[in-house]
């Protein structure tokens, strides 16, 4: 038990140092713009299908599950605003981040771990390239930029799914549905949601890169590394979400 606690603190310290190195190196040249663009495309393109379909289903399910209760209290007109706020504030960012932790995080950590095991990272260094800049900074920056984009997309698709249910079950037009959604949504809902998405993206990518970059124990370690990266980054998403809600409450009086 003591050993586990010690390991937890050591890993936390190392991830903090790894993050500090990111901030130290991200501002100074050489800048790997081409690799950053490639990684941004890969992260966005790889996840957009999964994020879109999951968001769509979440919108439908949430509306179908809450509708009977609201109908019972005669409050079905509150449905668009309630679903809108729930999706934009919480469901959209958290579900998207968890999907990215599973898909993007595991991909990054497994790729870097296998590069480490097969000496590709050393080969890169011998070729006059700083592997931290080329592999870590590009991936972390790309994930930090792309996650909010994916969250906005997931929110939109989720609301479309919800609007479809409302149209089919209650005859609410798309125009009326969205006008109700935006009537009750304000900056206090949108800004914290977008801001925390940046942090989710950063946390997922930095943990995954740290795990991949420090992988050992040969090919056996590659699978374990990917697994650990997903578990830690998923946990971090919830911790960051908790902190974000506390801070939002101070600024926006939720």
């Amino acid at each position: 038990m003591l050993r586990r606690i010690k390991k937890f603190f050591i890993t936390t310290g190392e991830i903090t140092q790894f993050s500090a190195r990111y901030f130290r190196e991200v501002l100074f040249p050489p800048y790997e713009f081409q690799e950053l663009l490639k990684q941004s495309f890969l992260i966005g393109n790889k996840s957009i299908g999964l994020v879109g379909s999951t968001g769509f289903i979440m919108g439908i399910v949430l509306t179908l599950q809450t509708r009977p209760t609201l109908v019972e209290f005669g409050a079905e007109s509150w449905m668009p605003s309630m679903v809108g706020i729930a999706i934009v504030r919480e469901i959209g960012p958290v579900i998207t981040a968890l999907i990215c932790a599973g898909k993007v995080g595991s991909g990054i950590s497994a790729e870097l771990a296998s590069m480490k095991v097969t000496e590709q990272i050393d080969a890169m260094e011998v070729s006059g390239t700083n592997p931290f800049k080329y592999l870590v900074i590009t991936r972390v920056t790309a994930a930090t930029i792309m996650l909010p984009v994916l969250v906005v997309f997931a929110d939109l698709v989720s609301l479309i799914g919800s609007a479809m249910v409302e149209y089919l079950k209650g005859g609410v037009t798309l125009q009326l549905y969205f006008s109700k959604v935006f009537e009750y949504l304000n900056y206090g809902d949108l800004i914290p949601s977008i801001v925390k998405s940046f942090f989710f993206g950063f946390a997922i990518a930095i943990v995954s890169c740290y795990k991949g970059f420090n992988s050992s124990k040969g090919t056996e370690g590659v699978g374990r590394t990917a697994n650990e990266a997903v578990v830690i980054s998923s946990m971090l998403v919830f911790v960051l979400d908790f902190i974000a809600v506390l801070i939002s409450d101070i600024f926006y009086d939720l």
């Binding site: 097969t118 590709q120 050393d122 390239t129």
Partner: protein
């Protein structure tokens, strides 16, 4: 202990009293070595004796604890990253497992070191000519657009050799060039090492367990034992040695 003098004049790698430890594991304990210009030297040693650590120290992937190391006349201690990169331009490194980038095609693998070593001004046509020339010299021109996963172990080694040649290095460090290959392919790689030396006038330090490779490729063999240069000499001389440590390597 030196058994045979050689005829080479200018040293390209000079190592004196090199020490390197990992915790309590003292891998190199006062290693001395000189590689002369145009010479091919094989480094023999048991697994875990520090052979790979030594060549990673030479290329600056691992920092030494103490001792002196000069590569192409430049001291490797307290070297700036920029200077280290300029040394790395002149020192090719063949990794044990080839270390080709899985996500890049053969062509991109070969272009990568050129682009990184600030040959960015070269247009893609010039880069392609250099890539084709390097691939041609290892007999694999037809693999230009293949991915590493589509190549056999021997082909990967050849492509990796082509990648080390692309910057026309003065020294090539080979880490187990025939490791994991069948004897026939291993022999082909050994002859390729000789061909490369003749064509590009390189010097080479070859880490190997394969005596056939050492016999074909080298002018001199160094045996690393207990972190030190135990003995060195030509293949023929060492083969006749009655020293028990030497005999461990040469007994059939």
């Amino acid at each position: 202990m030196m058994i045979q003098e050689n005829n080479f004049k200018k040293p390209v790698i000079e190592i004196k009293d090199l020490h390197k430890s990992f915790g309590n594991n003292h891998v190199l304990r006062g290693f001395d070595f000189t590689l002369m210009d145009g010479e091919n030297v094989a480094l023999l040693g048991k697994s875990g004796s520090g052979k790979s650590v030594l060549i990673k120290c030479i290329i600056g992937l691992i920092k030494i604890d103490s001792g002196q190391m000069r590569v192409l006349g430049q001291s490797m201690s307290d070297m700036t990253q920029k200077k280290l990169n300029s040394i790395r331009r002149d020192v090719g490194f063949l990794f044990q497992g080839s270390a080709l980038y899985d996500s890049m095609s053969v062509r991109e693998n070969l272009e990568f070191p050129m682009r990184r070593h600030h040959e960015k001004n070269d247009d893609s046509k010039t880069l392609l000519v250099r890539v084709e020339e390097a691939l041609d010299s290892v007999g694999l021109l037809h693999t230009l657009d293949l991915m590493p996963a589509e190549l056999s172990g021997g082909m990967k080694k050849r492509v990796a050799i082509a990648r080390t040649l692309i910057l026309r290095p003065k020294i090539i460090l080979y880490d187990e060039p025939t490791g994991g290959l069948d004897p026939i392919t291993g022999r082909e790689i050994s002859h390729l090492i000789n061909k490369v030396q003749e064509q590009y006038k390189t010097s080479a330090l070859i880490i190997t367990h394969d005596l056939a490779c050492a016999k074909i490729t080298t002018n001199r063999i160094v045996i690393l034992s207990e972190g030190k240069n135990y003995i060195e000499g030509s293949y023929g001389v060492l083969e006749q040695s009655s020293d028990p440590v030497v005999q461990e390597f040469f007994k059939k």
